[in-house]
Structure formats: C-alpha cells, structure tokens
C-alpha cells in the first residue's frame, strides 16, 4: 500500500545559522494493504513527520515514498495519491471548512469533480460509516471534539481512499471521543478493508493493532505485533514511552517472582492471568 525507501527528512533551521533538525533518518517501511498499523513514539520521534510523507504533505529530503506504486515526489500524481491516502489531523477545528456537516463532507468529492448524485450517495454513506447520519444538517462548530473528528473522517471517506492516516487524531479528545474515533476506524478497517495508520503516543491505542512500529529519534526502533512489543517494558520506558497499566502490573509482579505472562494486554486477559497465578 505504502512503501518508504530509506526515507529522510530534514527541517530547515528556525533561525539563521542555526542547525537543521533531522526528523527522519532513513526509514524503510512497507505498509500492507488492509492492515491496521499504529506508529508509536514520544513527541519529537519523527512519527508525525513520517505520517505527513505518506500523502505528500511533506516531500522527502532523501529517499522516497511510494503509494500504490506512485512516487509522492511526482507532482503530476498528487491528486491520485491524495485520493488513495487521506489524512485526519489532530485539531478538529482546523479541518472543518463548511457551516453545514454535509457540505463539509462533500468538500473533497466536489473538488474532485464527482457528479452531484454520486456526491450525495458518498456523503450519506460516509456519515453512516462514522455514525453521524443524524447530524447531516447540523452546524459543525456545535459538535463535540469526538463528533468533529468523525466528521473529518467522513470527509476523508467521501474520497473513497484505500488508506486513512490519523496523525494524533485523538490527542484533543476525551476518553469517550477517543473511543468513538477508534471504534470507527477499526470498523472501517474490518468491514471495508481500509488500511489504517494511526500515529499516537497513547500506548493503549495500539492494543488492537495488527502491527506496532515504535519510533525514536527519527528511526524505527521496534516493529512487530503488540504482544511482541509491549512486554519490552524497559526498552519502551527508556525511550520515553509508558506501557499500559496491565503490562506495568504484570511486569512488576514478574519482577517479584510471580509466574505471569507479559503479553496479557487487555484488562480481561490481565485479570485472568493474575487470578490464575493466585490459584
């Protein structure tokens, strides 16, 4: 779906004679179609920069990024690339442009020259996909954060992309809003086969992912299934990440000699493992 080859990115210095910031140091990743990938990293690890190269918001300083075989550095392919890979950003208020929900969702297909009846169909379907059909004629600014982000997602879906990249899209939401966004994208991934790339520093959002890519200082330092990655508690902590409470508890108990697995990530699994060890 998306492939990066020795991808490098440098930000220009903030002041004259200052140093440039190397945000990505040769990242080579291959994202499989239909997968649900979480990219984890502390602030400054390069994860957002990486996300922005996926649909040519940023172009590589070195190396290359390929979307379904299309080079993101090729200007003539920009529209095609952005139709395939949509992005949802952190701040819901920065992504909504219209005064009416359905108009905001229709924005992209209108710009792509999609015929009116088709736009109508896509808008209705996109809103249904995110569970916001009843708000079709509402004013976006009156919605909650989670609802706004779902409208932003609907706006992306209306382009019928193959992949959605969420760049810390839940950072400004409360737990309920966060859960709404996560359930929505998981459902889109499962039911429509849309590839999802979720950028976050919230560890627990990676629990249900197919794959977790951990970044630190511009490079990928871990890459595997959540159950392989989370037990590496010391490593994760050393790069400024926390593990979920479940893993922290199991790790602590293991250190005290209890026979518990470290990969019982979910609340239920963790409780089951601890209860079993106590019997």
């Amino acid at each position: 779906m998306i492939e990066t080859r020795d991808l490098q990115y440098r930000y220009a210095p903030a002041e004259e004679n200052g140093k440039e910031t190397v945000a990505l140091r040769g990242v080579s990743l291959s994202i499989e179609k239909g997968s649900f990938v979480v990219v984890l990293g502390h602030n400054g690890s390069g994860k957002s920069t990486l996300a922005k190269t996926f649909n040519a918001v940023l172009l590589p300083s070195g190396g290359s990024v390929w979307v379904r075989g299309m080079d993101t550095a090729d200007e003539s392919l920009l529209l095609a690339i952005r139709q395939k890979v949509g992005m949802v950003f952190q701040n819901p208020d920065n992504q909504i442009v219209a005064n009416v929900v359905e108009e905001d969702v229709a924005f992209a297909p209108e710009n792509l020259g999609v015929p009116p009846e088709e736009i109508r169909r896509r808008v209705d379907e996109a809103l249904a996909d995110v569970g916001m059909s009843e708000f079709v004629r509402h004013a976006p600014h009156l919605l909650s954060g989670g609802q706004k982000q779902r409208i932003a997602i609907a706006g992306v879906i209306a382009m019928e992309p193959e992949c959605i990249v969420l760049d810390e899209a839940t950072a400004m939401l409360d737990p309920v809003g966060r859960q709404e966004v996560l359930s929505t994208v998981h459902r889109l991934n499962r039911e429509k086969g849309i590839t999802v790339i979720l950028i976050t520093h919230h560890m627990n959002e990676a629990e249900d992912a197919d794959r977790v890519v951990v970044m630190d200082d511009g490079a990928v330092v871990m890459d595997g299934r959540p159950r392989e990655i989370f037990p590496r508690v010391d490593e994760l902590r050393s790069i400024g990440l926390n593990v979920p409470d479940t893993v922290a508890l199991l790790y602590g108990l293991q250190q005290e000699g209890m026979d518990v697995p470290l990969d019982a990530l979910t609340v239920e699994e963790c409780a089951e493992a601890v209860a079993a060890a106590l019997r």
Binding site: N43, G146, V176, L241, T246, L249, L253, V267, L278
Partner: protein, 288 residues
C-alpha cells in the same frame, strides 16, 4: 479548612431565548478549600469549561454566585479584573496565547498589568520561570523558537508570575507525551507543595487526576455526580463507567479481578497499590 472559593447555586445558560438555548451548568454548589489540590473530571459537555470560566469571572452567572474569600466576585463588576489576578486560569493548549518578542516579556505581561514594576516585576518573572523549569538562557529567546512543551511552560509561567491564590489548569498535559506529561505534573505538584496555594486540575485523564489530587469533583450533564477523595470516587468505578466516564485501566483490572472472586479493595487506583495487594494475597496463600 477555610473555603477559598464557594460556588452557590450556579447556573449558566447559553443562548437564552434562542433555539440553541442550553444550560451548561444547572444549580451547581460546592466549596474549594484553601490549599486544596482539587481535580475536576467530566465528559465533554458536562460543563467543565463553563464552570472554570466562572471561577475567575470570565463568564457571568445566569443565576447563583461565586464567592472568593467570602465575597461575591460580581459585587463590584468594574473590579472583576482584580479577580483574575487572584484566580489564575491556564487554558488548554496555552501556548497559543504567547505573543511577545521574548519569553521574559511574555511572562511579564500579567504581573505588569497588575502594576508590578522594577525589581519586584523581575523577581516574579524569574521565579515563575524557575517554577516551571525554564532555564535562564531561555528568557531572551523568542517564544516561537521553542518546542511545544517549552512553550507550554512559558504560558504557565505567565500565569504563575501573577502569584494567584488559586491556580486553575484546564487539561495542562493535553498533547504532551508520557515523559512531558510526568514532568509537567511534577512541576505542578511541587508548586502546590511549596507555595501552599490552591490548585484545581481539570482533566479527562483519570490516571492523571488519580495520582495527583486530594479531592475529586465529578461533573455530569450540568451537575455534580460525585465529590470525594480519589479512593471514594474510584471505589464507585461501575457508576463512573455507567456515566460514560473512564476509570484508570488499573481500576478496571481490579474490578475484573473482583469479578473473578479475588478479594481486591475496590478503591485501588494505582498500579503500585494493586501490585502490593496481589503480592499480599499470594503471601497469604489466597485461593479463589
């Protein structure tokens, strides 16, 4: 315990008389004690932001009163500005408020508006910078050259420099990564301990609230759902979940263990506590 802020039957209605009329808070009453570290939690739409903007007079009650040290803050409306020097409010993503040429000048804005000058002004600025962990060499930089986390500290320092009696922080760690979050919370804890002022922390993050405050106010749908210590509040985990709120993941693990017959104290809300309880049960040879 002396009350510093008292909220009496506070109601705030937006858009009165229009089709969008909505009471964001209805008949709310509670007291904040001097020196307390209070946490306020509530889902989006519960009235949190509306409430805290009443505490420093940014919003005026539709009905009800807000008392600061026993006096109605709106008794003399023309003097409402002085309330804002005594009750400092740090909004979410405060770095968006930065505007001056240098960090020093930005922090100076608040205390200068209070009338501070000369060495007294300088003292306030430098002390505030120190409290948030900003190095001296940062003071001459432009705020816009700094990282997100550093900008946030500058914004916080700008409020601390006014030496408010009550400090209110709305989601201070929003958008920060785990290390950044822990750093900032440690600064806030130190501030509370060393300055002895009152601190109100508004947050969605149950973990954050649980580990830092003396008392929690849980808001729901324009009213108060619970008011108690963290132990008291998290012991009612099922109620919180039913109210659409989150509980710390570790509390849910404790709840799941109890469901399996393991006798864990319902009020457990930190990983360390649960670890200790489990180890104690193992030593006691518990079986279930």
């Amino acid at each position: 315990m002396k009350p510093i802020l008292e909220v009496e039957n506070l109601t705030h209605t937006y858009g009165s008389g229009t089709p969008f009329e909505r009471s964001a808070i209805k008949d709310l009453s509670f007291t904040v004690n001097d020196g307390e570290f209070l946490g306020i939690i509530g889902h989006t739409g519960s009235g949190k932001s509306t409430l805290i903007q009443h505490l420093n007079g940014l919003l005026r009650p539709t009905s009800g009163r807000v008392l600061l040290e026993g006096k109605d803050i709106w008794a003399e409306p023309k003097k409402i500005r002085s309330v804002r020097f005594r009750v400092g409010l740090v909004f979410q993503y405060p770095e968006y408020q930065l505007f001056e040429e240098t960090v020093y000048k930005d922090i100076a804005f608040g205390p200068a508006n209070m009338g501070k000058t000369g060495s007294e002004l300088d003292r306030c600025i430098r002390e505030a910078a120190r409290l948030v962990g900003l190095q001296d060499d940062m003071l001459d930089k432009s705020p816009f050259e700094l990282s997100g986390g550093q900008k946030r500290r500058v914004a916080l320092a700008g409020v601390l420099a006014m030496e408010p009696q009550v400090l209110i922080l709305d989601e201070p760690t929003a958008g920060l990564d785990p290390a950044g979050r822990e750093n900032l919370l440690a600064n806030i804890r130190d501030y509370h301990r060393n300055k002895g002022g009152t601190v109100i922390l508004v947050s969605h993050s149950m973990d954050e609230i649980a580990q830092n405050v003396d008392r929690i106010l849980v808001l729901k749908s324009a009213g108060i759902l619970m008011d108690g210590t963290p132990k008291e509040v998290f012991a009612r985990g099922e109620e919180l979940l039913a109210a659409g709120l989150d509980v710390p993941q570790i509390t849910r693990v404790a709840m799941a263990l109890r469901q399996r017959g393991v006798p864990i104290d319902p009020a457990v809300y930190t990983v360390d506590e649960l670890q200790r309880e489990v180890l104690a049960l193992r030593r006691g040879g518990a079986s279930c």
